[in-house]
Amino acid sequence: MKLKFDPRTLVFLYFVVFFVGTMVYDFLWDLLLMVTPLAIVIYLRNVSIKKVLGPLTLTVSLLAIILFVANFLYYPLSRPIFNEEYQFLIGNRLLFTLDGFTFGLQIVLRFVTILLMMACLTEVIPVSELVDVFHKIKLPESLVLALGIGLSYIPVFITELGDIQDAQQARGWRIKTRNPIKKGKAWAPLLVPAIKSSMRRSELLAASMESRGFRSGFKRVSRKKWKFGKLDYIYIFFLICIALVAIIYGNWGAKVAHWTFTGDVIKGILEVL
């Protein structure tokens, strides 16, 4: 089942998820307010989550460890997590605390949620539909095309850069220096061919667009007719509710929207353990 949403609805979803991410600090509330609307679209549009999340696993895990360690060590409050004999002190500074642990864990969970949600959104709203929305909101035609080409050119550029790197490695190239200036220079064998190829391609793309009838300032007739349906209206209403919850809890500083809710849950679990 792949249900059609108007692309404008999906762009609104983008904004709401981003809004929730900025307004609500508490992980569990974040999770609830971000995942619920997205899960609905993912389910209705039959998007493969494995495909989106698979390549991110390693990066996300590494970042999560770094963030956790950094925040765990940094948190300034002083409620000890362990008995006194297990506390780790440098000078007079207490490093491991219960608050530090819960804060670090929360930061990581929240960061991972936001990152994964954004990755899911790119799969939920394909570039083509994003470009359609740009059309609908009457951005200049040339700007819309430039954005579309730029977004769809990314995979080509990555492949090309891979080919160039292979070609130079096959001639014995590798970065051997730690000196940042020399390191910068050592990238020339990759960057010069990549830039030259991009410049040549952009000229050919422009010629190709013109030879297919594209003229600046000329009105194109889009073949797509997007219309808000019942599903869009219901979903937008739901998104507005989510945004309101985020405003209420985020703006007025209610306990649930701040760090303390998830912190208390974690601490409760730890105490039981």
């Binding site: 070609a167 064998p189 010629a207 297919r212 594209f214 073949r223």
Partner: protein, 578 residues
């Protein structure tokens, strides 16, 4: 008959260049013409196309004289942009990735129609039709840039057919499609355009495929039109055409050889079928010639590459090669052929450790490549990539040649010696102080090969050295690689060009769906025509002729000269009127 295009005494030189890209070109093309434009690389074919679609002078600047009329309207006087001319003239270039603009395949097909103001209903109908015709329906919502090279070219062609302009220019539109696929695509294009009363102008080196399909052929050399007429008539000038780098169909070359023997036919045969029809009554009078005895296999016993049950799965899960085992001996000249995506490049990337096996083992010069990285293998295995522009980055040829030897840690003195040796072997000694980006594609390819040869590797791998080159330049690169091979190096060439394989390569490996499908001497492999066709490849036309007339002729002929000798033997050397 309606005159579609009229080019009157046009001269053009690109901005910043002194030499003329086209000189005093005059050409009239009417609605009934199906035109093939051919010529060597850099002869001015693409410039001629740009004159017709208005890219010159509206996009590419330079010195322009003369005039081009489209349906009676002057390109300079009556049109002010390329976009206006696009309603009349469609253009497909040779690099599909440089023509893909939209985020999905169906948007790409609709792009020109939307620009022309076609109604949404008609545009959608046309999109559906072209998706079906080109077999791209399952990719309709995919980013066209993520498709394979052949599929990208089909996408560009689908977009082009949908837009239905009166004049259609196709500039090497099937360079990424295998030989049998190309023939199919040209057949579809020409039939469709003819049915819709459109005028196709096809720029191509694949004369074997196109000569039977077109009714007019124009040959350009050094910016001037030197031949213009029906293909059968133009192709009779075999010597002149070969001299300027055009690959004359093997059947026409055989016709010429037979003509010199005194055998005359009613018309010049272009295709294998036509030649077989002409020869059959003659051969019936003779006796069957025995198959050609295979020369002894390669004498070296020293193994340089050994792959055992090699498989490779890419991180996205694609199993590119499966359970491949092979041994390559020192001094062999091996060709690797196969249709797009059959695993050729993945296979050879294991020979210099650019890839490591996900299963199985590869040993090069006795060392397991699992213990090495590509940069460590560079002095042993030279790998030259398909696109020379992927590696050239210095502003002098000699610096480009010195890059590899410097990386592998040679002394200044040794580097100088190696650069000189490589330049001499690849015949680019005159260009050492020249900026490589100012050279032609053929010269840049030689620079790229030389920069690898400069490391004096024991094994040289060259990936598609003939892509985008005319016959003469492709042949020249193969000759230079062969010379390197004659000095004792092991050479491996990946190519789609069967005629060059037949001429230069000793052993042929055919890959199919990630496996080694055929492996043997070039003669052995080409004699298995039917098996080869299952991989979308043909043996060279001259071999196919032998296979077609196998009652009389050997099935493993590799050259026109060999075939002419056999026919001469059958005919007893007597002059015969056909």
């Amino acid at each position: 008959m309606k005159q579609r295009i009229q080019i009157n005494n046009v001269d053009f030189s690109y901005k910043g260049k002194t030499e003329l890209a086209v000189e005093d070109v005059s050409l009239q093309i009417n609605e009934r013409n199906i035109l093939l434009v051919t010529g060597s690389a850099g002869a001015g074919k693409t410039t001629l196309c740009r004159l017709i679609n208005g890219a010159i002078p509206h996009f590419f600047e330079g010195e322009y004289a003369g005039d081009v009329l489209l349906e009676g309207k002057s390109i300079t006087g009556d049109f002010s942009t390329m976009g206006e001319i696009a309603v009349l003239v469609g253009y497909v270039g040779q690099d599909p990735a440089s023509q893909l603009i939209c985020p999905t395949v169906e948007d790409e097909i609709a792009f020109a129609l939307e620009n022309f103001g076609t109604s949404p209903e008609e545009t959608n109908r046309e999109v559906e039709e072209q998706l079906k015709e080109t077999g791209l329906t399952r990719y309709r919502n995919k980013n066209p840039h993520t498709l394979s090279g052949g599929e990208q070219q089909l996408c560009v062609i689908a977009a082009f057919l949908a837009s239905k302009q009166g004049i259609m220019i196709l500039d090497e539109p099937t360079s990424n499609i295998d030989p049998i696929g190309s023939a199919r695509v040209f057949d579809i294009i020409i039939k469709k355009l003819e049915a819709q009363n459109m005028t196709p102008i096809i720029v191509e080196h694949k004369i074997d495929i196109l000569a039977p399909l077109v009714n007019r052929m124009v040959v350009i050399d050094k910016g001037k039109i030197i031949f213009d007429g029906p293909p059968r008539k133009v192709l009779q000038n075999t010597e002149e055409l070969t001299k300027i780098g055009i690959r004359v169909p093997q059947m026409v070359l055989l016709w010429k050889e037979l003509k010199d023997l005194g055998v005359e036919f009613n018309k010049v045969p272009i295709t294998v079928d036509e030649m077989a029809t002409c020869l059959r009554p003659l051969l019936k009078r003779g006796i069957k010639v025995d198959p050609i005895e295979e020369a002894k296999g390669h004498s070296s016993t020293e193994t340089v590459i050994k792959a055992e049950n090699l498989s490779h799965t890419y991180p996205d899960g694609t199993l590119a090669i499966k359970d491949c085992s092979l041994t390559i001996k020192k001094g062999e000249f091996v060709g690797i052929v196969g249709q797009n995506g059959s695993g050729k490049t993945t296979l050879v990337k294991h020979f210099n450790a650019l890839l490591h096996p996900t299963k199985g083992k590869v040993c090069v010069m006795g060392n397991d490549i699992g213990d090495f990285t590509a940069d460590k293998m560079a002095s042993t295995v030279g790998y030259c990539f398909q696109n020379p522009d992927d590696q050239i980055f210095k502003d002098k040829v000699k610096d480009e040649l010195a890059f590899g030897p410097k990386n592998v840690g040679l002394s200044e003195e040794e580097i100088e010696k190696m650069v000189e040796m490589a330049a001499h072997r690849m015949e680019i000694s005159d260009f050492l102080d020249v900026d490589p980006f100012t050279l032609s594609l053929g010269e840049r390819t030689r620079v790229a090969v030389a920069s690898v040869v400069a490391m004096n590797p024991e094994i040289l791998i060259v990936d598609e050295p003939t892509t985008g080159q005319d016959y003469l330049r492709g042949d020249e690169i193969m000759r230079l690689v062969k010379e390197f091979n004659d000095r004792g190096a092991t050479c491996i060439v990946i190519t789609h060009d069967m005629q060059l394989c037949a001429k230069w390569v000793d052993r042929l490996i055919v890959t199919k769906e990630g496996r080694i499908f055929l492996d043997g001497t070039t003669r052995e492999v080409f004699s298995q025509g039917e098996a080869l066709e299952t991989t979308n490849l043909h043996p060279p036309p001259i071999t196919r002729l032998g296979q077609k007339l196998k009652q009389w002729l050997p099935e493993n002929v590799l050259s026109v000269e060999e075939m002419a000798d056999h026919i001469k033997t059958i005919l007893g050397g007597n002059k015969i009127e056909a």
